[in-house]
């Protein structure tokens, strides 16, 4: 992933927080880090090969890891966008994802349409829900303490999860993809549902990029992320940008949920499963860096799968957190974050 952002245009504002949503370091520096990361991944794969002694097993792990990683990236993109612009660590992200899954499940159950068509319902619904959550619960806390925002989003996630539990019951549900198929990619098994989810995640990521890069609205979002006060001074409606950003971030979770629905068993507490991973991806990619989130997602997907080869019987999260801690130790601002 090359650096999409260019050097920041605005004159430096020392008092302002600066968070380039699309990565803001020089291209050379980013390429160097990407190369180092890639090199380390290659070494990890080589060691896995030696450990397992089966090329097929490692190849399957790599393929599965990358496919899962795209989805993680998409989930984390929404989360990191919200953090980058609003400075809110949104613990309700996973619960909102679960809501979208149940919307997909409900629509498929009720109408029998193709699961992917529920994107047309789930994404707008989550967009509106995100806007409502921001307006109703969070916009008033702009100046409030961090703990308050955290407690609000955490409380909201408990509320949403238990609401789902009450409404749908704890019985796990499945969303089947009609006409799902499998094919072999040089020996590794890839299911259609997984491939579509991956491609969908990349596509939505690209759309989000384009939106941030090329539209007036995207420019406004980036302006607010880089310097809220400055943006306000030149006439950007910051509160509106905040609400819309939160809504877009939540809509990303909605899209990810529909794409992932055929791959998982839908339960009210499903969000927790993705929440932890998404947060790790966000921090790894550099808080508030949308491009970093996608790369971080792919990386974490890989690490998760390779962990099962390295350490049988350990939670794959062990490997994820090991990488997480090492990266934070070496680069506290994340792989693609900037020193603040």
């Amino acid at each position: 992933m090359s650096n999409i952002g260019t050097k920041a245009q605005s004159p430096p504002a020392p008092a302002a927080r600066r968070r380039p949503l699309l990565g803001g370091d020089g291209t050379g520096a980013v390429l160097k880090r990407a190369a180092v990361t890639g090199g380390l991944v290659a070494v990890a794969i080589a060691v896995a090969l030696i450990k397992s002694g089966s090329g097929l097993v490692v190849w399957q792990s790599v393929v599965t890891g990358l496919l899962m990683g795209g989805l993680y990236g998409l989930i984390a993109m929404g989360l990191t966008l919200i953090f980058g612009v609003l400075d809110i660590v949104n613990f309700a992200h996973g619960a909102l994802l679960a809501i979208a899954m149940f919307i997909a499940f409900g629509v498929v159950q009720g109408t029998g349409v193709h699961p992917y068509l529920t994107l047309l319902v789930a994404v707008p619904a989550l967009f509106l829900l995100g806007a409502a959550v921001h307006r109703g619960l969070l916009s008033g806390t702009g100046g409030a303490s961090l703990e308050n925002q955290l407690l609000i989003t955490l409380g909201l996630s408990l509320l949403l999860e238990n609401g789902l539990l009450m409404f749908f019951g704890a019985e796990p549900k499945t969303v089947a993809l009609p006409g799902d198929f499998q094919f072999s990619l040089f020996g590794a098994v890839v299911s259609g549902a997984r491939l579509y989810a991956f491609l969908g995640a990349i596509l939505i990521g690209a759309v989000l990029f384009w939106l941030l890069r090329r539209t007036r609205f995207g420019t406004a979002i980036r302006a607010v992320a880089a310097n809220g006060q400055g943006a306000e001074l030149v006439g950007v409606n910051v509160r509106r940008v905040h609400t819309l950003t939160f809504a877009i971030g939540t809509a990303c979770a909605g899209a990810a949920a529909v794409l992932a629905a055929p791959l998982v068993t839908v339960t009210p507490t499903l969000g927790e499963q993705f929440n932890i991973t998404a947060f790790v991806v966000v921090v790894l990619g550099g808080m508030g860096n949308v491009a970093g989130a996608l790369v971080g997602g792919l990386l974490i997907g890989l690490v998760e799968q390779l962990t099962t080869i390295y350490m049988d019987g350990q939670s794959s999260l062990l490997g994820v957190f090991a990488v997480f801690v090492i990266v934070l130790f070496l680069r506290p601002q994340g792989l693609f974050g900037r020193r603040s």
Partner: protein
């Protein structure tokens, strides 16, 4: 900047968790001799997770216990006590060990002569301590862990076969069924979730298989809470050259495993569930579709060949609009054990009821080799795991022969 946020978030989590888990601690001492045991209905406690992640099974089991109470009352109540009626005192563990503990104490304080429960081993472990302290019998309907019965407890009993018994039977049935099919098992790969439940099943199975001369390996485990794909693990199985894959997991992860197996198509003769949380559930068949076909599972099970069981399950279906699961039938059996002990003791004194339970002989509606009767350690001597298989979209009992509804089909769908 964000480090502070994360720290604050984790702090908030801890505060919330602490606030959520405020179960009152149980007073000790023989508070069990509570008021109200000698008058009014005879109270039997039912302690299950009717809220939280296991609410579906907990709800099922509470209803099973309720049906048992109604059946006893319809048959004239406790005759040796002049036809006194039986009443179910219900408690909700919320799936948490500490809540289960305080709820057990509450049921005892309300005058329960004994109680059944709790579906989860960790919760049962705590409830057993409460039963011991108050000298009130605790008859477990579903509790997989065998560790509780190594403590020399006097007041704990169990109806279901334990996890070691199930794993041992799974190995024995595998040897016998594979030999009958003319494809004797050589090497079993074992895929299991990594907590006590799955690892315990794998260890017990491995020990039993070794005695039978079956090689077990590789042993692959995963984290049931976070796993979202088992394709790579099943590919490891494929590379290992095993001819049977045993799977011990909960519902969600076992479903993932079944899908991964269907995708990778390893060269297996059979897929073999051990204490598996999915492979003998009708829901699994409807969720997994064609993928579920011919998967085996060794587990406790309601007795599909017993007409009384069939009648009970029809009644449940009519009343609650859902098929009655094995857990609920076990709860029914456990309540019957306590009620019949009260009948034989002719008393609601918990001590006398406990002694009557110890010499029980109760006809079960779940699969067993005879009437429920307890070994000195409290385990059910006649509990029998049974082998099931998905055949034509139905879960069928296939082995041993006297419990079989149809013949086992020792093969997989993707290899003729």
């Amino acid at each position: 900047m964000w480090a502070r946020k994360l720290a604050a978030g984790l702090g908030a989590c801890a505060v919330l968790a602490a606030a959520a888990g405020c179960g009152g601690s149980a007073p000790s001492g023989a508070a069990g001799v509570a008021a109200g045991r000698d008058r009014g209905p005879v109270k039997i406690g039912a302690l299950h997770p009717v809220s939280g992640a296991n609410a579906v099974d907990g709800q099922q089991m509470r209803r099973g216990a309720q049906l048992a109470v109604e059946a006893i009352n319809a048959a004239g109540g406790i005759k040796s006590l002049g036809g006194r009626k039986v009443e179910l005192a219900t408690g909700d563990t919320q799936g948490k060990a500490e809540v289960g503990q305080s709820e057990a104490q509450r049921l005892i304080s309300e005058g329960a002569v004994g109680f059944v429960g709790t579906y989860q081993s960790a919760v049962s472990t705590n409830a057993a301590v409460v039963a011991e302290r108050n000298r009130v019998p605790f008859v477990m309907d579903v509790t997989a862990s065998d560790a509780i019965f190594a403590n020399g407890y006097k007041y704990s009993f169990r109806v279901q076969p334990g996890s070691a018994a199930i794993a041992g039977a799974a190995a024995r049935y595998l040897k016998e069924v594979s030999e009958q099919a003319g494809k004797p098992v050589r090497k079993v790969a074992f895929l299991h979730e990594q907590t006590d439940f799955g690892s315990g099943a794998a260890e017990a199975f491995t020990a039993a298989a070794k005695k039978l001369g079956i090689e077990v390996g590789p042993n692959i485990s995963y984290d049931a809470l976070t796993v979202s794909d088992l394709t790579a693990q099943v590919t490891q199985v494929k590379a290992s050259g095993a001819d049977v894959l045993a799977v011990a997991g909960y519902y969600r992860d076992s479903l993932l495993a079944a899908k991964a197996i269907a995708a990778v198509k390893p060269d297996l003769n059979a897929v073999w569930g051990v204490s598996n949380g999915a492979y003998d559930q009708p829901k699994f068949v409807s969720d997994a579709g064609a993928v579920a076909e011919r998967i085996f599972s060794t587990n406790y099970h309601f007795d599909a060949k017993n007409p009384q069981t069939a009648k009970l399950r029809q009644e449940y279906q009519r009343r609650y609009g859902a098929p009655m699961r094995t857990g609920a039938v076990l709860a029914y059996d456990a309540v019957q054990v306590i009620a019949q002990a009260v009948e034989r003791a002719g008393s609601t004194d918990a001590e006398k009821v406990r002694d009557a339970i110890a010499s029980s002989s109760v006809e079960p509606l779940t699969v067993g080799t005879g009437p429920i009767s307890f070994a000195p350690n409290g385990d059910n001597k006649t509990a029998l795991p049974v082998l099931m298989q998905v055949q034509g979209g139905q879960v069928k009992q296939v082995y041993p022969a006297e419990k079989a509804e149809s013949q086992p089909n020792y093969s997989v769908t993707w290899r003729s």
